[in-house]
Subunit: 229 residues, 4 copies
């Protein structure tokens, strides 16, 4: 999996802080942007994060290039609707030498891994034959597996990202999209740490796990550690 | 493919017409709803359709049960973001006896069809073996094909549906989602004909094909027929 | 203020439960809808509410007719973007006999109330004169007050409503939109009690108040009452 | 009216072109971004604009600081839901020295202008007295006029902006929001001309006016001019 932050709103923290400040000030946005000190930006962002007043976080936007992921992952990813997606098309790009993603639980079982490899070989052969028989690649791709590698460009604003991290950094998310969420989180924390200081699964952001009997128990661990302190 | 309109806003045409009327009237919505005659409802809907003033069409909502479609189709479908989706999960539902969708271009080629059937048999076998080897079904499903049958519940409002039909009833959409769009269109035209009188691909709704060199030429046919009249 | 639930998805609780069930079942939606017992619907809705798995709540949609509210309120209301609005237009509807909303804090102060009435008389007079001088009503309305009465039709799905109630039933929301939120909540609880059993401000839905130093203290009261039990 | 483009996605044209290219290429996004020539970027953007394939335009985001506009304008503006807004709050910012917007049709009529000025004086006086009488400013503001000056920060992506320009650069939009739309268009055309080369009202973008009997006739003028060429 390759995850790269390609583009983002310049000075994303300042953009958010200035917008928040505008709501409570008689001064204008351009003026506020220049006059706010770094400490003021930081204090305001902390307050907004703590109170969950996140509408201003929408003014900071982040665009990622994502490669080496399966179509299992992208089918889950594009269900997040407050976002923009451009995905490599299996209608227009031929899959004569496709790569595929191997889940760790399969990689760890040599027999399963061998079966996967053998099947993917069969899939490739069938796809190629279909195309040779005159089937258009948009239909030949019906034989391709969920594991097939794909590429996608994703843009989300900081508020939508925070929600994405809450759902997908969670232990109950599947490993692949959780890996993606963690990688995206690392990317944005590197350039806008104060927007994402409280980012993570629900147990981290709210100190509460809503998953009931399905909970991974991580929160209990967090609580236990807190008590030790 | 099975497409069934499960639920929809009662009296959807009246709901839209009443909302539109409210914008231009001193009377209230409840009052307008009761006082508008069927002819008034019809005239207003025609005017809104003709002028493309579609915001009020959002007040009518439609929920469909869709079965017997591939995951090729649902991956395209869920890219429409002004909509709500609930899909049968391959994480939680075992695929020990999956069905699959056969594209017409493959069905028409006996050799291709036989290859598809053989491969799907291999896929089923590999999936079953993976699970037996202790791979969780959420990972075993990486071997499943795009062709695998899925089920989904979709809710869209009338405005979003009109946009969906514009893109997906078009000849440039893939056959499967075009079949779905046409089936959904038939369902809603049966219960709200005056909301969907101008529904269809862009060439039908606007008399213009934006696809340039990629155009299917249908519009030219429409134009030619017009000239004959 | 008049708030009336005009239309809604038929059997909204069943629509949501059926959609949720589909995700975890090999059966289809239409089949599930008929086969689920009332108790099964109730149990599933309770589980979804408790775990905050609310995406299926989007399949139930509710349309309200709202009258007797100020443009202060509607300017706040339309900031909720996952919703559909049709509002009485001051461009197209003349305001020669406008009504206005009196905030309770003004109604409680006779001197303030008298000043408001006097000013609204001046506003009406100026508006009427502007129009007589040839100013189009879309420009004459620049003199109209925030207090001016307006009408609006609103459609939201159950998930968006739950978010709306969380923000607007809160004591920190202004009195007028809080009154509206409470009235809308009463309307939907009457027809779909199991979708809205956990509805209300954040302190009610999550047992946590994020407002920090700005908190109304209601939660402390809830906690204190819990301890007494 | 002051309109300033505060922030935007760096190299917005390249971001869009690279995302579009990804859909049809086996190469990855980061690679494509660096390898595309300026001419390739331009050709691709022209093709996307011509065919109305605008989903990739969402990857470019633009944030504006807007001042010196009325609350008439912002009530219209915030109806565009695929956007983010942060507005100066009349709940939290006192209006003891408010400015107001004068519509040109009133400015052009000395008698009307004088009446507006007199009324705004009365409004200011009443607001100040209300606050002195103990009315909180969030309620005192019910007396404030639609004309009252406000400030707002707006973020929209390029696709949403194109739709905004289509509706609000149109002669049928009110003068104030049309002035805003034209000013925003000038700002983005200066930094991303190839994303907005076809931007403007529907008659400009599609060569078709949907407004029927309400049309301003501008399109007829455009057509007439074409014929002269």
């Amino acid at each position: 999996m390759k995850v790269k932050l390609l583009k983002y709103t310049p000075e994303p923290e300042r953009a958010v802080a200035m917008s928040a400040r505008l709501c409570y000030s008689a001064a204008g946005a351009a003026e506020l942007e220049q006059s706010m000190s770094e400490a003021q930006v930081g204090n305001l962002l902390k307050k907004l994060s703590d109170m969950g007043h996140l509408s201003t976080f929408e003014h900071a936007s982040f665009t990622f290039a994502i490669e080496g992921v399966s179509r299992v992952l992208t089918h889950q990813l594009v269900r997040h609707r407050i976002a923009s997606y451009s995905q490599q098309s299996q209608r227009y790009v031929a899959e004569h030498g496709f790569e595929y993603i191997i889940p760790p639980s399969i990689a760890a079982r040599p027999e399963a891994k061998a079966k996967l490899a053998a099947l993917m070989g069969e899939v490739q052969k069938t796809y190629d034959e279909m195309v040779k028989l005159g089937v258009h690649q948009e239909d030949a791709r019906y034989v391709l597996a969920n594991a097939t590698e794909t590429k996608i460009v994703v843009t989300m604003n900081a508020r939508s990202l925070l929600h994405f991290f809450e759902k997908r950094c969670c232990q109950r998310a599947q490993w692949e999209i959780r890996d993606l969420a963690n990688a995206m989180l690392a990317e944005v924390q590197a350039v806008a740490p104060r927007l994402f200081v409280k980012a993570g699964p629900a147990c981290v952001t709210s100190g509460y796990c809503p998953e009931g009997a399905m909970s991974c128990g991580r929160l209990a661990g967090i609580e236990a550690n807190k008590e030790k302190i």
